[in-house]
Symmetry: C2
Subunit: 203 residues, 2 copies
């Protein structure tokens, strides 16, 4: 009786199963998909993995992904250095940049506080953020961590660290998604949307 | 404004997004996870991908994954050559082997018929199965394709090809999962379970 896969296949399944959001069944499915693909396609995937890891590092200033010492945003001197948007991950920067609404710089924490997984302030790029405040003459920090438990805890912690420094510290708004339907909103979102109500601007 | 990722990151996201069951959001998540991992871990994943693809091929007889010309099951002469279990993928063999109930050989179709995706009998290892019947003295074929539309269509097609050859052709049973709850079974499964009812063995 054969109770497991041949070793190279098992190793591949194990390695794929370590990726976030990939369970054992998905890992199997992806592994067999790769075995059926033309060799050139598989080599391209392996190369993309190695290449990204070789070429990409984190921006020395804000920890966004970068190919040089600074990321394209930090290297762009038309960006307003006095306003910094704090995010959990580089991918949040891409989302915020798509809005075209923000002309300042960013700071990537590379995660959010999560005591259950042993992620405290020391595991995040918080000390590096505090160092930037004086060095760059930052006057406003917008906390754009995710509106979930980890993101809120991180935002609260950062607010307590930053407010004594005399900065303007704001939190990105929570509320109903644009185009959403009040009837289908969950009660937490709806509660936040009410809490964050603003006077109607009839200008 | 930066509207996309730096090229090596975008290439990695694109390549990951081609994998089955990985959407654009998961591809982003995995890509940034890889960028944060130690280089050795990332190199191990890329190596596992290349290594599996280099070393693993398909068994010349049954199309199971194999490191040599024959897979471990075809190479084992204690297995009964007269009974063949037809499956869609190699991973189905691992599942069947775990039951310890089957001592025959297998035949992997490398997929199932799916006209919408252009997969007909010619795209599967069906001709190769028919060639095996005489060559190996096969007397019974158990159709173990999945109990979904594609698997059923494939099983019906195979049954029509195999029955004229005077073989015993059977289909693996559908029904309630062991330990399952009748109340929560969907009506299709329940219908199949009723259809497949068997006399109670009071031996």
């Amino acid at each position: 009786m054969v109770s497991a896969y041949t070793p190279p296949v098992q190793t591949l399944i194990d390695e794929l199963g370590r990726l976030p959001g990939i369970g054992p069944k998905s890992a199997q499915r992806i592994a067999f998909h790769l075995l059926k693909l033309p060799s050139a396609d598989v080599a391209r995937l392996a190369h993309a993995i190695n290449d990204a890891k070789d070429k990409v590092r984190f921006c020395e200033r804000c920890f966004n992904v970068a190919e040089g010492a600074l990321c394209p945003i930090c290297a762009d001197d038309r960006r307003d250095a006095t306003v910094v948007c704090v995010v959990e991950e580089s991918r949040d920067i891409v989302a915020l940049e798509r809005t075209g609404e923000f002309r300042g710089r960013y700071h990537v924490l590379l995660g959010a506080m999560n005591p259950l997984e042993g992620i405290g302030p020391e595991q995040l790029k918080i000390r590096e953020l505090l160092t930037r405040i004086d060095a760059e003459g930052i006057t406003e920090v917008i906390l754009c961590t995710n509106p979930n438990t980890e993101g809120e805890v991180t935002a609260m912690y950062l607010a307590r660290q930053l407010q004594p420094l005399g900065l303007t510290v704001t939190r990105i708004a929570s509320g109903l998604p644009v185009g959403g339907d009040l009837e289908y909103a969950d009660e937490l979102t709806l509660g936040r949307a009410l809490e964050g109500r603003r006077p109607v601007d009839d200008g």
